[in-house]
Symmetry: C2
Subunit: 405 residues, 2 copies
Amino acid sequence: MGIPELLVQLVLVLAVAKLGSELAERLGQPPVLGELIGGMLAGAGWFHWLRPHDVTLHALAEIGAILLLFEVGLESDLGALLRVGPAALWVAVAGVVLPFGLGYGVAALFGLPKLAALFVGAALTATSVGITARVFGDLGVLSRRESRIVLGAAVADDVIGLIILAVISGLAGKGSLSLGEIAGVIGVAFAFLVGSILIGQRCAAPMLHAARRMRSRGTLCSAAIAFCFALSALAALAGLAPIVGAFAAGLVLARTEHRVPIEPLVKPLADLFIPVFFVMMGAATDLSVLSPATPDGRAALGLGAALAVVAVIGKVIGGLTCPGRGIDRWVVGIAMIPRGEVGLIFAGLGRQQGILTPSLYAAVLAVVLVSTLVTPPALKRRLQALSDADEPASEDTRGLVESAR
Amino acid sequence: MGIPELLVQLVLVLAVAKLGSELAERLGQPPVLGELIGGMLAGAGWFHWLRPHDVTLHALAEIGAILLLFEVGLESDLGALLRVGPAALWVAVAGVVLPFGLGYGVAALFGLPKLAALFVGAALTATSVGITARVFGDLGVLSRRESRIVLGAAVADDVIGLIILAVISGLAGKGSLSLGEIAGVIGVAFAFLVGSILIGQRCAAPMLHAARRMRSRGTLCSAAIAFCFALSALAALAGLAPIVGAFAAGLVLARTEHRVPIEPLVKPLADLFIPVFFVMMGAATDLSVLSPATPDGRAALGLGAALAVVAVIGKVIGGLTCPGRGIDRWVVGIAMIPRGEVGLIFAGLGRQQGILTPSLYAAVLAVVLVSTLVTPPALKRRLQALSDADEPASEDTRGLVESAR
């Protein structure tokens, strides 16, 4: 039957996720770190003799990634980016172009094939909205102008990153693309995002309105999830990653009046599936490929270290060039450093398609880990230095922590 | 990859479930009927060319069955049965023994093998708590003494039915069982239920207490689901169906102070997974095996009709023998008729283990459908006849509808 084995696996995955995230949280680190490292340790341990149901567990992990991007979309406010305006967009574009270019360059220097180098560069583009918002919230500075710029930029670089991913997926499918074909993929991705938001907005509101008037239980939750899955499948049909559709679905629903009742319904689903995704991500990482004892391991370790440096530098420079007055550009630069969910998803796609070798995958994962470990202490230090000159963080900014989570 | 196909299937399953249940609801029928019939029609239609991801979809359906019994357990009140006391227990025992015996007899008369006849009898034992509570609620009579007896009896016959299932599963595994072995299986099942409730109660409260004090998000939901999955897997290890463990987990958590915060977290999960289970149940039914055009079809149709008659008669006689004064025994008997979730799960297990042929499975499903279709109008008629002599249903009983769902 296999169902009991699947249940045992799910219990173990949930236990690893919760213990890991709780430990990370108590150490002042983002919970996702704990889930990844827990998954790595678990993967090195008992995951080897517990794999009969891999297909289902992987499908559940994929649903986790889809629900994650759906939630990010639901919590994103397209309007907010437009309000902080050109500064956020500048930081986003600079923070995508620099890490992408530098990452590609480093990977090419290490002799990687072009496609793999492009995947590595793409995995470094997207700042983690969740981790950034969390760090700002913990420090009680969500209402600072820098915070709003960074959050706006983090949403924008998700969108740009997803478009880059679409182009690279197209490249991976066809082997090589002409400039015209690249423009075509960008066009399809852009058309999908804009089209699904415009058309989705027209369809979603009446559909959800009808769902809420239905008498049978659970229709609103089912309608929202079905909408997310449908756009994910449509994105796949359009040659994009399913997560692009999930993100678009979240953005669309965020702009309807139904966002408030939907969020608490999606939360338990996300709480259950997203940790499965991160633990499986960690479990898929073979840390021994980064061992300094072998020549291959040393090379992978060197690549990881070089990538970590350019990942940090790229985002910090992007932040330092931020236009506008009365802004501490170092705060913006440091806050843009953490990579997370979206970068991991890119790396996972590259591994699935056989473009990233296990050691490359491990190197990218190491970069994500380093970028998230480095940010909280650095940001705390910079903000404390500022607040010695500034007024202390007022009480009411603390209240914003909750609303940003 | 297969993920887009899985997403499309899930969207279609959810759409079928919601349209079916809404239609059923508007026609004054239980929503589960709509999901089953929708699944049947879908299974006859596009499910044939949409099956690459069957493994995962079936695993999701199994998780649906587990969450369903978990929810039934969560909503069951062991204390309530003890309060209505011996009358409910009598109705439960009579309502299990008669349909089981009559169903077994009819199946044996139709020349079925012993094991298949036992499975058919067992599938007729459990009254659907959900459907019964719903019908009473819709009629505004949840506070009547008959209603409390019936709900108590429905919970008790779930437990008895699950023990019968454990015995039959043991039989199916070993081919034949001596009386001592049957006693052993009953002992294990009973020991598991009592033991998991006693030990679970000691472990669950501190575990959930710790989960609620954790700082990372979603720990309470994950802990509750992990507890449910762990007991389900344990039940499977003890030779029982996983759903027995899920039911025990629900009963245990229902008796802790954490039930109130857990219920809204389990609901969205249940809303998403349970319809998958019922639609897949319906889709697995090949209605053509009940065609009167073939000799086999006529035999299956005859068996289904005979089983439907004894399924109704068995429960009504059980109700008519209910002890106590001032009770309308016809109301008790009629209200015990609807079979649902648990009967379908039994039939599904029998089909999976190859004990029930497709036509037998279809016959059992037809009995479940008939029993649920018959009850609402019959109960309404009897209660209206009573209320012409009685006082009209008061306003405050309407309020109980919500709490019983």
